[in-house]
């Protein structure tokens, strides 16, 4: 039994060494393992002397146990040694040794960041939802008119007679009105051609149907998707426009929904298109819009009125809502409220542009905006190289700025729990911060790139003594690994050495940079 325990520990030691050897680079593994196996033999011989009698005393057993622990501790040290060799191997073999510090590497990394941020923006449902709303924003000059003092904005308060009286008068502040009223209706669906039941629960639904004047969608300026003017002209049925929500819920977002026929209270009507979700901002939670003549739309009951402001009216619209006094049909004054249908929220692109411009203006406060191109020996690079340098700078900006845009969208709209109002602030702040620090990085990176080959200068070395600042320059010297330039950055800017300078190296420096190619400055 004791023998089997000793063999088990011996096997464990071997396993430890073998496991540690897996960490060692393959080229060195065999020799490393051989050395540790040899050492282990000696360690075991020293710590657990063989020849202990089978019936050894308890004290001898205890000593042997301690020896075994020492052997195991020795084997565990192999992991540290293996990791040390592994790290050394990695340091000798940098993954991007060929392009490290080159402009190509920089542009590749920036392009990868742009692709990643764009891909994330495509994947995040919050960003997708927000993006789908961008082209569908309400006209900012539209207002919803309702009676003042109504607690519930969703309540229909305008009578058809009121609407007709306004429509008939010359208006100073409004140049267009549209009326709609909402009723709850049973709806049955059938195929336009065959008359069979369509998808849905037995083809019967109960919808909020808005009976609207024919000019409603023209006034709203919202496009109707899948609308076919020729088919509409050929059909003598009334037209109904589905809300996007209903289209998705009841018709499974079928792109061929236009032309299908549904029954509203037994009356056959033809689906002529789908209204975008922007129209859902109108009160009434409308599932479908039935476009009718004005007398039909205003047949009975209170409804909602959408009005379009003239230039004068828009100038009076200081806030989200405005009080309106209008003469009613009986000549009495109606006190009304006009509520803007446009969201106060600016478009993400506008917000981004604003934040980027503010960041650009703030940039000189945190860094020098100079590109640091002055040279010690008054040497200038060729025009071609200068154009290349500026092209690289422009390419960095062209990759970085869209990346910031997509990242800010990801941050602001990635989580649907934040809420759209807060998302605006988040987008603004994140865009500003990212623009500011990215522009700073762009300038700093550009200042540290050799004007000849655009590689980043490396190997910083401290030159001079701080105590001799007024006698000689002191600061940091970095070199281009292509052997073209040395960059001198003063530690303490003086009147005669205020900013960094490039020292262009002549051919006498070539011996230091064996194997480097030296294009002409």
């Amino acid at each position: 039994m004791r023998l089997s325990v000793a063999w088990a520990r011996r096997a464990m030691d071997w396993m430890l060494l073998w496991a540690a050897s897996l960490l060692v680079p393959r080229s060195e593994r065999e020799e490393w393992h051989r050395e540790w196996r040899g050492e282990l033999w000696h360690v075991r011989a020293a710590c657990t002397p063989a020849g202990g009698p089978a019936g050894a005393s308890q004290g001898q057993d205890h000593g042997r146990g301690q020896g075994q622990d020492q052997v195991t501790a020795f084997c565990l040290g192999a992991f540290q040694d293996a990791l040390c060799l592994r790290r050394a191997g990695r340091a000798e073999r940098p993954p991007l040794a060929g392009i490290e510090g080159t402009p190509r590497q920089c542009l590749l990394i920036l392009a990868a960041m742009l692709a990643a941020s764009y891909a994330i923006a495509l994947l995040l449902p919050g960003v997708c939802a927000e993006r789908s709303l961008w082209p569908r924003r309400m006209n900012p000059n539209l207002v919803m008119i309702e009676q003042e003092g109504v607690n519930d904005d969703a309540e229909a308060t305008i009578l058809p007679a009121q609407f007709r009286s306004w429509q008939g008068r010359k208006q100073k502040y409004f140049d267009g009105f549209a009326f709609y009223r909402v009723t709850r209706q049973d709806v049955g669906a059938e195929q336009a051609t065959g008359g069979t039941e369509n998808q849905g629960d037995q083809g019967h639904y109960e919808w909020n149907v808005a009976h609207a004047g024919a000019n409603l969608f023209t006034l709203l300026g919202l496009p109707v998707e899948f609308s076919d003017a020729d088919a509409r002209a050929r059909s003598d049925l009334k037209e109904v426009i589905l809300s996007e929500r209903t289209w998705k819920r009841e018709f499974g977002a079928d792109a061929h929904v236009a032309g299908e026929v549904v029954r509203f209270r037994g009356q056959r009507v033809r689906i002529s298109g789908v209204a975008p979700d922007g129209a859902l901002g109108l009160p009434g939670r409308v599932d479908a819009w039935m476009l009718e003549s004005d007398p039909e739309a205003q047949a009975s009951g209170a409804g909602y009125v959408v009005a379009h402001l003239t230039g004068l009216g828009a100038a009076e619209m200081w806030t989200q809502s405005v009080h309106i006094v209008a003469n009613g049909p009986d000549g009495a004054e109606d006190i009304l409220l006009g509520i803007s249908l446009a969201e106060w929220k600016p478009a993400p692109g506008t917000l981004y542009l604003f934040a980027a411009i503010v960041a650009l203006l703030a940039l000189p406060a945190i860094t020098s905006v100079s590109l640091g191109e002055s040279s010690v020996n008054q040497q200038k690079t060729s025009w071609a190289r200068r154009i290349l340098r500026w092209s690289f700078f422009t390419a960095k900006a062209a990759l970085l700025l869209p990346t910031i845009y997509f990242v800010s969208l990801d941050l602001a709209y990635g989580s649907t729990t934040i809420g759209r109002e807060r998302a605006v602030y988040l987008e603004l702040m994140s865009t500003f911060a990212m623009c500011l620090f990215s522009m700073r990085w762009m300038l700093k990176d550009q200042r540290q790139r050799c004007p000849v080959c655009l590689r980043t200068v490396t190997h910083p070395a401290q030159v001079g003594q701080a105590s001799r600042t007024f006698l000689d320059w002191n600061g940091t010297e970095m070199m281009c690994m292509g052997g073209h330039t040395l960059l001198h950055v003063p530690s303490l800017p003086t009147s005669w050495f205020g900013s960094q300078r490039w020292l262009y190296l002549d051919t006498s420096w070539d011996f230091l940079f064996a194997g480097s190619t030296r294009p002409t400055p």
Partner: protein, 104 residues
């Protein structure tokens, strides 16, 4: 000019090698350092060309019925560095007397 700014551990290992402890386990025993410290330190010293290693002949190991072991020795640069380290760590020689000191 060799860099004399070695760690105390590295200086102890150089001193132990100079004192005639020429393989990893003997250095461990002499210095009291664990294997996880001694072997990685020797890798670094070998990389910096302060020590070099060679394998024992197989025939010698076979004759003694044991596996061959890897021996280490100081290079010329290692000796210069050790001299500098002795000035930096004056107690080094008292801790591990060198071969010459022991013979005196």
């Amino acid at each position: 000019m060799p860099d004399a700014r070695l760690s105390h551990t590295a200086a102890m290992i150089l001193q132990a090698l100079d004192a005639g402890f020429v393989y990893g386990f003997s250095i461990m025993e002499m210095t009291g350092l664990p294997s996880g410290t001694v072997y990685p330190a020797m890798r670094r010293l070998e990389r910096d060309e302060l020590i070099r290693s060679h394998w024992e002949k197989q025939s010698i190991a076979d004759a003694e019925q044991r596996p061959p072991r890897k021996y280490y020795k100081l290079t010329a640069a290692g000796k210069v560095t050790l001299e500098a380290s002795r000035k930096r760590y004056p107690l080094l020689e008292r801790l591990i007397p060198s071969a010459e000191a022991k013979s005196v």
